[in-house]
């Protein structure tokens, strides 16, 4: 749209007039990359290898572990913990959808309707980050406390009857139920949805809205046919930034949930740090990683925004 005002394309060093040829130039990029890439290889990639190897080991803490290619660990882990896997996907998906539904109006408002309040609202969206998310999650314990105003209001409006019937809450409690965990997940990852949505909405040329209006599109049609399709990159990266961390989260399920709301992150954490069953924990973590990677790849392919990466 505004190609003329946009920044010039990144430098292409192969173009002869761009950079004077330097003797060491050929090796420079590798020297620049070396420390950071080495760090990622040793502390990100290598641990994955160790984890894969741990998952097929057998043994005990006292006698040590040996690689025995014991793939049955995967099967055992899956059959023991498939409910937690299913629950993680369901909670993370619910939180992602809620984040999109709640975050879109906010991002839209900041981009098109906030006027001179835009910067202040942006600050307010980001500022909660600076209070530890654990403290903020604990605050939900107060907000959703038994017999508190929120639960009381939901009770009076008979919302809890409906959610109870759906199995999202139990009795007149919200804490220690799936609803509380999903509410916490939604809250914690909402900014990760709002920010990319805002970035892609803000880039939309306002004249496109006018043009749609000139062509007799009603506001809703304009949104459906112009605004929303143009904000797709934001929707895709927002949903990824919400779903991925939510699926591995164990803080919300631990602080706001109960033993019936344990997610796969809780299982991995307990197996690793309390039970010390390293092969099972490693297998579970490996399955989670593989599932996320496959899902993300398929999703990015499907939504056709591979330039996102």
């Amino acid at each position: 749209m505004t190609t003329l005002t946009e920044a010039p394309p990144p430098l292409d060093p192969t173009a002869p007039d761009r950079k004077p040829p330097r003797a060491r130039g050929r090796w420079t990029p590798y020297w620049l990359l070396l420390p950071g890439i080495l760090w990622l290889l040793v502390f990100f990639a290598l641990p994955m290898v160790y984890q894969a190897s741990t998952s097929v080991q057998t043994g005990s803490l006292e006698e040590g572990y040996k690689v025995t290619w014991h793939f049955a660990t995967y099967w055992d882990a899956l059959s023991a913990y498939w409910p937690q896997f299913v629950r993680s996907v369901a909670y993370a998906a619910a939180a992602t959808v809620l984040c999109l539904l709640l975050g879109y109006p906010l991002a839209y408002m900041i981009a098109f309707r906030a006027g001179r309040w835009r910067n202040l609202i942006m600050v307010l969206v980001i500022a909660p980050f600076f209070t530890s998310f654990l403290i903020r999650t604990l605050a939900w314990k107060t907000i959703l406390a038994d017999g508190g105003p929120v639960v009381g209001a939901l009770n009076t409006l008979h919302v809890l009857d409906v959610t109870g019937w759906l199995g999202w809450t139990s009795g007149d409690r919200v804490l220690a139920t799936p609803l509380a965990v999903v509410c916490g997940l939604t809250y914690n990852f909402l900014p990760f949805m709002v920010l990319p949505l805002y970035t892609s909405l803000e880039r939309i040329d306002a004249r496109l809205h006018e043009a749609a209006g000139d062509l007799y599109a009603r506001p809703w049609t304009t949104f459906r046919k112009v605004t929303f399709p143009l904000s797709m990159p934001g929707v895709v990266s927002g949903t990824l930034l919400t779903f991925i961390p939510a699926s591995g989260d164990y803080v919300n399920a631990d602080l706001l949930g109960s033993t019936d709301t344990r997610m796969i992150g809780n299982v991995i954490q307990t197996q690793f740090l309390r039970v010390l069953d390293y092969p099972t924990a490693a297998a579970l973590s490996f399955i989670l990683m593989a599932a996320i990677l496959i899902a993300v790849t398929l999703y990015i392919r499907k939504s056709g925004t591979e330039d996102l990466v």
Binding site: L40, T54, V251
Partner: protein, 270 residues
Amino acid sequence: MAAVTSLLNWFRRHLVVIAGLLTLAYLLLPNVIVTVFSFNKPKGRFNYAWQHFSADAWKDPCGVSDLCGSLSISLRIAFWATLGATALGTLIAFALVRYRFRARGAVNSLIFLPMAMPEVVMAASLLTLFLNMGAQLGFWTILIAHIMFCLSFVVTAVKARVMSMDPRLEQAAQDLYAGPLQTFLRVTLPIAAPGIAAGALLAFALSFDDFIITNFTAGSTVTFPMFVWGSAQRGTPVQINVIGTAMFLVAVLFVLAAMAVGKRRGKHKA
């Protein structure tokens, strides 16, 4: 009837703003609660129900043992992690934008993957590495982990800035007989600075607030998030809320001040 219709119309026209403000309220409600409850005087060990007003905790923010110690450990880790990740990440970002080289795709994926991985997976695999190497868990293992997961975010932030930079500025500098080092220090670096600063700020926030990876790599070292996590089991002192509120206020003031300075500068230029 007309009044109802106009009210409905008003409502429909401002529906997006109303929904947006409600979401904003949802985002800010916990901070309000944290602030209000920093003035609470709880009865038991847990600070979840309102009793009565008291400013005791504000007068003695370090009154709980280990609280301020954990805060200082977190700040130290966040400082060094920011420094490390920003340095390494900036170098990578420059290499990615400025040079063509082999294995570019592989490098890009290696940068992207840590951001597309649930934290618990990275945390668990790092712990297996440390256990296998027999490393002593503590300050250094936390620092190593934090530099690792902050790195990708710094690269992304700096890359965006360097990419939007006009390469002709550097050519101009060289035409005016600036050497490569001089060009870099006086032209390239100042232009890239906002991106580097954004990356550093992000790294600091991520490291300071990280719990999941820290929980796996900390051993018996207690960072501030670890302290809060522990207190959720043992009893939450009011001082936690005091520190949470103070951090929120400092952040908001800092950003508002930065915005005011930016505005004044913009005016001067005009």
